[in-house]
Protein backbone atom coordinates (compact mmCIF):
# COMPACT_ATOMS: atom_id res chain seq x y z
CA UNK A 1 0.00 0.00 0.00
CA UNK A 2 1.28 3.45 -0.89
CA UNK A 3 2.02 5.74 2.05
CA UNK A 4 -0.54 8.31 0.89
CA UNK A 5 -3.20 5.60 0.65
CA UNK A 6 -2.42 4.49 4.18
CA UNK A 7 -2.55 8.07 5.49
CA UNK A 8 -5.82 8.63 3.69
CA UNK A 9 -7.38 5.43 4.96
CA UNK A 10 -6.54 6.14 8.60
CA UNK A 11 -7.58 9.80 8.34
CA UNK A 12 -10.88 8.90 6.71
CA UNK A 13 -11.62 6.40 9.48
CA UNK A 14 -10.85 9.05 12.08
CA UNK A 15 -13.24 11.52 10.50
CA UNK A 16 -16.05 9.03 11.17
CA UNK A 17 -14.98 8.96 14.81
CA UNK A 18 -15.01 12.77 14.90
CA UNK A 19 -18.55 12.78 13.51
CA UNK A 20 -19.65 10.36 16.20
CA UNK A 21 -18.13 12.61 18.86
CA UNK A 22 -19.95 15.60 17.36
CA UNK A 23 -23.20 13.64 17.29
CA UNK A 24 -22.87 12.88 21.01
CA UNK A 25 -22.08 16.53 21.79
CA UNK A 26 -25.11 17.70 19.80
CA UNK A 27 -27.48 15.23 21.46
CA UNK A 28 -26.11 15.98 24.94
CA UNK A 29 -26.46 19.74 24.44
CA UNK A 30 -29.91 19.17 22.98
CA UNK A 31 -30.92 17.06 25.97
CA UNK A 32 -29.70 19.76 28.38
CA UNK A 33 -31.81 22.27 26.47
CA UNK A 34 -34.82 19.92 26.50
CA UNK A 35 -34.50 19.43 30.27
CA UNK A 36 -34.37 23.18 30.83
CA UNK A 37 -37.53 23.67 28.78
CA UNK A 38 -39.24 20.75 30.53
CA UNK A 39 -38.38 22.08 34.00
CA UNK A 40 -40.16 25.36 33.25
CA UNK A 41 -38.15 26.84 36.11
CA UNK A 42 -38.52 30.57 35.80
CA UNK A 43 -36.26 31.16 38.81
CA UNK A 44 -33.16 29.94 36.97
CA UNK A 45 -31.43 33.30 36.38
CA UNK A 46 -29.25 32.19 33.46
CA UNK A 47 -31.93 30.61 31.29
CA UNK A 48 -31.38 32.94 28.33
CA UNK A 49 -27.60 32.75 28.60
CA UNK A 50 -27.77 28.98 28.87
CA UNK A 51 -29.80 28.81 25.65
CA UNK A 52 -27.29 31.01 23.86
CA UNK A 53 -24.44 28.77 24.99
CA UNK A 54 -26.33 25.74 23.67
CA UNK A 55 -26.80 27.52 20.34
CA UNK A 56 -23.07 28.23 20.23
CA UNK A 57 -22.33 24.56 20.84
CA UNK A 58 -24.67 23.63 18.01
CA UNK A 59 -23.04 26.13 15.64
CA UNK A 60 -19.65 24.64 16.40
CA UNK A 61 -21.00 21.12 15.89
CA UNK A 62 -22.15 22.15 12.40
CA UNK A 63 -18.74 23.71 11.72
CA UNK A 64 -16.93 20.63 12.99
CA UNK A 65 -19.13 18.35 10.89
CA UNK A 66 -18.38 20.38 7.77
CA UNK A 67 -14.64 20.25 8.43
CA UNK A 68 -14.81 16.50 9.13
CA UNK A 69 -16.74 15.89 5.89
CA UNK A 70 -14.24 17.92 3.87
CA UNK A 71 -11.34 16.19 5.54
CA UNK A 72 -12.94 12.84 4.74
CA UNK A 73 -13.20 13.68 1.02
CA UNK A 74 -9.63 14.95 1.15
CA UNK A 75 -8.44 11.72 2.77
CA UNK A 76 -9.97 9.73 -0.09
CA UNK A 77 -8.00 11.62 -2.78
CA UNK A 78 -5.13 9.10 -2.93
CA UNK A 79 -7.73 6.54 -4.09
CA UNK A 80 -7.59 8.25 -7.50
CA UNK A 81 -4.53 8.60 -9.70
CA UNK A 82 -6.41 10.72 -12.21
CA UNK A 83 -9.87 12.22 -11.90
CA UNK A 84 -12.05 14.46 -14.04
CA UNK A 85 -13.39 17.15 -11.76
CA UNK A 86 -14.57 20.73 -11.61
CA UNK A 87 -11.77 23.08 -10.63
CA UNK A 88 -14.29 24.85 -8.39
CA UNK A 89 -14.52 21.71 -6.26
CA UNK A 90 -10.75 21.83 -5.77
CA UNK A 91 -11.02 25.48 -4.72
CA UNK A 92 -14.00 24.86 -2.42
CA UNK A 93 -12.34 22.02 -0.62
CA UNK A 94 -8.98 23.71 -0.21
CA UNK A 95 -10.50 26.94 1.05
CA UNK A 96 -12.24 25.10 3.84
CA UNK A 97 -9.03 23.28 4.70
CA UNK A 98 -6.97 26.50 4.52
CA UNK A 99 -8.92 28.37 7.20
CA UNK A 100 -6.01 28.29 9.59
CA UNK A 101 -3.58 29.55 6.95
CA UNK A 102 -5.91 32.42 6.17
CA UNK A 103 -6.41 33.42 9.81
CA UNK A 104 -2.72 33.13 10.68
CA UNK A 105 -1.80 35.57 7.93
CA UNK A 106 -4.79 37.88 8.44
CA UNK A 107 -5.91 37.51 4.82
CA UNK A 108 -9.14 36.28 3.26
CA UNK A 109 -9.46 33.58 0.64
CA UNK A 110 -12.60 34.02 -1.42
CA UNK A 111 -14.31 31.95 -4.07
CA UNK A 112 -16.31 33.41 -6.92
CA UNK A 113 -20.03 32.92 -6.37
CA UNK A 114 -21.96 31.05 -9.08
CA UNK A 115 -18.71 30.24 -10.83
CA UNK A 116 -18.95 28.41 -14.14
CA UNK A 117 -17.76 24.81 -14.07
CA UNK A 118 -14.29 24.24 -15.49
CA UNK A 119 -13.55 20.54 -15.71
CA UNK A 120 -10.07 19.12 -15.94
CA UNK A 121 -8.53 15.69 -15.82
CA UNK A 122 -5.87 15.69 -13.16
CA UNK A 123 -4.22 14.04 -10.22
CA UNK A 124 -6.56 15.37 -7.52
CA UNK A 125 -3.98 15.24 -4.76
CA UNK A 126 -1.40 17.09 -6.85
CA UNK A 127 -3.74 19.96 -7.79
CA UNK A 128 -4.67 20.53 -4.13
CA UNK A 129 -1.08 20.30 -2.99
CA UNK A 130 -0.08 22.92 -5.53
CA UNK A 131 -2.94 25.25 -4.68
CA UNK A 132 -2.13 25.00 -0.98
CA UNK A 133 1.55 25.60 -1.69
CA UNK A 134 0.79 28.76 -3.69
CA UNK A 135 -1.59 30.06 -1.01
CA UNK A 136 1.08 29.35 1.59
CA UNK A 137 3.60 31.28 -0.51
CA UNK A 138 1.32 34.22 -1.31
CA UNK A 139 -0.59 34.79 1.94
CA UNK A 140 2.28 36.18 4.05
CA UNK A 141 3.44 38.47 1.23
CA UNK A 142 0.28 40.44 0.47
CA UNK A 143 -0.27 42.13 3.82
CA UNK A 144 -2.87 41.77 6.54
CA UNK A 145 -6.40 42.66 5.54
CA UNK A 146 -5.81 41.70 1.90
CA UNK A 147 -7.92 39.25 -0.08
CA UNK A 148 -7.21 36.53 -2.59
CA UNK A 149 -10.09 35.76 -4.92
CA UNK A 150 -9.81 32.30 -6.46
CA UNK A 151 -11.32 31.74 -9.87
CA UNK A 152 -11.47 28.84 -12.29
CA UNK A 153 -10.69 30.02 -15.82
CA UNK A 154 -9.75 28.84 -19.28
CA UNK A 155 -7.08 30.32 -21.51
CA UNK A 156 -7.57 31.03 -25.23
CA UNK A 157 -6.81 27.39 -26.12
CA UNK A 158 -9.30 26.10 -23.55
CA UNK A 159 -6.72 24.95 -21.00
CA UNK A 160 -8.08 25.15 -17.44
CA UNK A 161 -6.35 27.70 -15.23
CA UNK A 162 -6.71 28.60 -11.60
CA UNK A 163 -6.43 32.32 -10.95
CA UNK A 164 -5.48 33.93 -7.67
CA UNK A 165 -6.49 37.60 -7.85
CA UNK A 166 -5.04 39.75 -5.11
CA UNK A 167 -6.86 42.69 -3.64
CA UNK A 168 -4.57 44.43 -1.18
CA UNK A 169 -5.62 46.33 1.90
CA UNK A 170 -3.45 49.22 0.63
CA UNK A 171 -4.91 50.11 -2.79
CA UNK A 172 -2.57 50.99 -5.63
CA UNK A 173 0.17 48.71 -4.44
CA UNK A 174 1.32 46.25 -7.11
CA UNK A 175 1.92 43.20 -4.99
CA UNK A 176 2.52 40.84 -7.88
CA UNK A 177 5.26 43.07 -9.30
CA UNK A 178 6.97 43.11 -5.91
CA UNK A 179 6.61 39.34 -5.50
CA UNK A 180 8.29 38.77 -8.87
CA UNK A 181 11.41 40.53 -7.60
CA UNK A 182 11.74 38.20 -4.61
CA UNK A 183 14.19 35.26 -4.71
CA UNK A 184 11.35 33.01 -3.43
CA UNK A 185 9.46 33.64 -6.68
CA UNK A 186 12.09 31.78 -8.72
CA UNK A 187 12.06 28.98 -6.19
CA UNK A 188 8.31 28.50 -6.43
CA UNK A 189 8.44 28.55 -10.25
CA UNK A 190 11.05 25.79 -10.14
CA UNK A 191 9.19 23.83 -7.50
CA UNK A 192 5.96 23.88 -9.51
CA UNK A 193 7.76 23.14 -12.78
CA UNK A 194 9.17 19.98 -11.18
CA UNK A 195 5.50 18.96 -10.81
CA UNK A 196 4.68 19.78 -14.44
CA UNK A 197 2.83 22.90 -13.37
CA UNK A 198 3.30 26.44 -14.65
CA UNK A 199 2.69 29.60 -12.68
CA UNK A 200 2.40 32.93 -14.40
CA UNK A 201 2.42 36.40 -12.85
CA UNK A 202 -0.03 38.88 -14.37
CA UNK A 203 0.95 42.28 -13.00
CA UNK A 204 -1.84 44.11 -14.83
CA UNK A 205 -4.44 41.81 -13.21
CA UNK A 206 -2.62 41.67 -9.87
CA UNK A 207 -2.96 37.91 -10.20
CA UNK A 208 -1.13 34.62 -10.39
CA UNK A 209 -2.38 32.00 -12.86
CA UNK A 210 -1.72 28.31 -12.32
CA UNK A 211 -1.72 25.86 -15.21
CA UNK A 212 -1.67 22.36 -13.71
CA UNK A 213 -0.53 20.74 -16.95
CA UNK A 214 -0.82 17.00 -17.35
Amino acid sequence: MKETLFMGKVTAAMTHEIKNVLAIIRESAGLAQDLLVAAQDTTFPYKERFSKIMDKIDTQVVRGAEIASTLNSFAHLPDYEVRNEDLNSVIDQMLLLSGKLSRTNGVKFLIEENAKSVFMEEDPLKSRMILYRVLEFLAPLIGKGSEIQLKSLKNETGTPLLGLFVKTAAPGQSVIERIQSLPEWDSIIQELRSRNTLIDAKVELNALLINFGK
Binding site: H16, N20, A23, I24, I25, R26, L31, A65, S69, H76
Partner: protein, 126 residues
Protein backbone atom coordinates in the same frame (compact mmCIF):
# COMPACT_ATOMS: atom_id res chain seq x y z
CA UNK B 1 -46.57 10.71 17.86
CA UNK B 2 -47.46 8.89 21.11
CA UNK B 3 -48.14 5.66 19.29
CA UNK B 4 -44.88 5.68 17.39
CA UNK B 5 -42.46 2.88 18.18
CA UNK B 6 -38.82 3.33 17.27
CA UNK B 7 -35.77 1.12 17.59
CA UNK B 8 -32.37 2.87 17.57
CA UNK B 9 -29.42 0.71 16.53
CA UNK B 10 -25.92 2.12 16.84
CA UNK B 11 -22.75 1.01 18.59
CA UNK B 12 -22.17 4.54 19.94
CA UNK B 13 -23.93 3.99 23.27
CA UNK B 14 -23.76 7.59 24.52
CA UNK B 15 -25.31 8.80 21.30
CA UNK B 16 -28.09 6.22 21.25
CA UNK B 17 -29.04 6.55 24.91
CA UNK B 18 -29.14 10.35 24.77
CA UNK B 19 -31.10 10.40 21.53
CA UNK B 20 -33.55 7.85 22.94
CA UNK B 21 -34.14 10.05 25.98
CA UNK B 22 -34.80 13.08 23.75
CA UNK B 23 -37.24 11.14 21.58
CA UNK B 24 -38.89 9.82 24.74
CA UNK B 25 -39.37 13.39 26.01
CA UNK B 26 -41.29 14.02 22.79
CA UNK B 27 -43.60 11.12 23.43
CA UNK B 28 -41.98 8.63 21.08
CA UNK B 29 -41.50 5.17 22.55
CA UNK B 30 -37.88 4.29 21.83
CA UNK B 31 -35.86 1.18 22.47
CA UNK B 32 -32.10 0.91 21.96
CA UNK B 33 -29.69 -1.75 20.75
CA UNK B 34 -25.94 -1.41 20.33
CA UNK B 35 -25.11 -3.98 17.65
CA UNK B 36 -26.52 -5.47 14.47
CA UNK B 37 -26.98 -9.00 15.80
CA UNK B 38 -28.71 -7.58 18.84
CA UNK B 39 -31.11 -5.66 16.63
CA UNK B 40 -32.34 -8.83 14.96
CA UNK B 41 -32.72 -10.53 18.33
CA UNK B 42 -34.66 -7.54 19.67
CA UNK B 43 -37.12 -7.74 16.77
CA UNK B 44 -38.22 -11.16 17.98
CA UNK B 45 -39.89 -9.45 20.96
CA UNK B 46 -40.32 -5.82 19.90
CA UNK B 47 -41.67 -4.74 16.54
CA UNK B 48 -41.10 -1.04 15.97
CA UNK B 49 -42.70 1.10 13.26
CA UNK B 50 -39.30 2.46 12.39
CA UNK B 51 -35.75 1.28 12.90
CA UNK B 52 -33.03 3.96 12.90
CA UNK B 53 -29.94 2.01 11.91
CA UNK B 54 -26.29 3.06 11.81
CA UNK B 55 -24.41 1.74 8.81
CA UNK B 56 -20.98 1.49 10.37
CA UNK B 57 -21.07 -0.98 13.21
CA UNK B 58 -18.66 -3.68 14.29
CA UNK B 59 -19.83 -7.22 13.60
CA UNK B 60 -22.86 -7.36 11.36
CA UNK B 61 -22.88 -4.27 9.15
CA UNK B 62 -25.85 -1.95 8.89
CA UNK B 63 -26.51 -2.99 5.29
CA UNK B 64 -26.61 -6.67 6.25
CA UNK B 65 -29.01 -5.90 9.09
CA UNK B 66 -31.15 -3.89 6.67
CA UNK B 67 -31.33 -6.75 4.18
CA UNK B 68 -32.37 -9.21 6.90
CA UNK B 69 -34.93 -6.82 8.39
CA UNK B 70 -36.56 -6.12 5.02
CA UNK B 71 -36.73 -9.85 4.35
CA UNK B 72 -38.05 -10.92 7.77
CA UNK B 73 -40.06 -7.82 8.77
CA UNK B 74 -40.99 -5.95 5.57
CA UNK B 75 -43.45 -3.70 7.43
CA UNK B 76 -40.68 -2.09 9.47
CA UNK B 77 -39.39 1.07 7.82
CA UNK B 78 -35.67 1.65 8.17
CA UNK B 79 -33.90 5.01 8.32
CA UNK B 80 -30.14 4.70 7.91
CA UNK B 81 -27.53 6.77 9.68
CA UNK B 82 -24.45 7.37 7.58
CA UNK B 83 -21.11 8.84 8.40
CA UNK B 84 -19.20 10.98 6.00
CA UNK B 85 -18.32 10.01 2.50
CA UNK B 86 -20.87 7.25 2.79
CA UNK B 87 -23.69 8.89 0.85
CA UNK B 88 -23.26 6.14 -1.71
CA UNK B 89 -23.89 3.59 1.06
CA UNK B 90 -27.04 5.50 1.96
CA UNK B 91 -28.22 5.24 -1.63
CA UNK B 92 -27.31 1.55 -1.73
CA UNK B 93 -29.37 1.16 1.42
CA UNK B 94 -32.35 2.81 -0.22
CA UNK B 95 -32.06 0.41 -3.14
CA UNK B 96 -32.18 -2.39 -0.56
CA UNK B 97 -35.40 -1.02 0.83
CA UNK B 98 -34.43 1.64 3.38
CA UNK B 99 -36.92 4.49 3.63
CA UNK B 100 -34.26 7.19 3.75
CA UNK B 101 -30.89 8.06 5.24
CA UNK B 102 -29.53 10.83 7.43
CA UNK B 103 -26.01 11.99 8.15
CA UNK B 104 -24.56 12.36 11.63
CA UNK B 105 -24.69 14.61 13.59
CA UNK B 106 -28.46 14.58 13.38
CA UNK B 107 -31.00 17.36 13.68
CA UNK B 108 -33.63 15.85 15.97
CA UNK B 109 -36.46 17.70 14.23
CA UNK B 110 -35.36 16.30 10.88
CA UNK B 111 -35.19 12.80 12.34
CA UNK B 112 -38.68 13.09 13.80
CA UNK B 113 -39.98 14.39 10.48
CA UNK B 114 -38.47 11.40 8.66
CA UNK B 115 -39.85 8.99 11.25
CA UNK B 116 -43.29 10.52 10.72
CA UNK B 117 -43.03 10.23 6.95
CA UNK B 118 -41.83 6.63 7.24
CA UNK B 119 -44.78 5.77 9.48
CA UNK B 120 -47.21 7.48 7.07
CA UNK B 121 -45.74 5.48 4.21
CA UNK B 122 -45.99 2.28 6.22
CA UNK B 123 -49.65 2.87 7.10
CA UNK B 124 -50.61 3.78 3.53
CA UNK B 125 -49.01 0.66 2.06
CA UNK B 126 -50.13 -1.79 4.76
Amino acid sequence: MKDWKVLLVDDEKEFVVTLAERLGMRGIHTETVFEGDGALKKLETYEPDVMVLDLMMPGMSGLTVLEKVKKLYPKIEVILLTGIGSTSEGLTGMRLGAFDYLMKPLQIDELIQKIGLAISKGSSTN
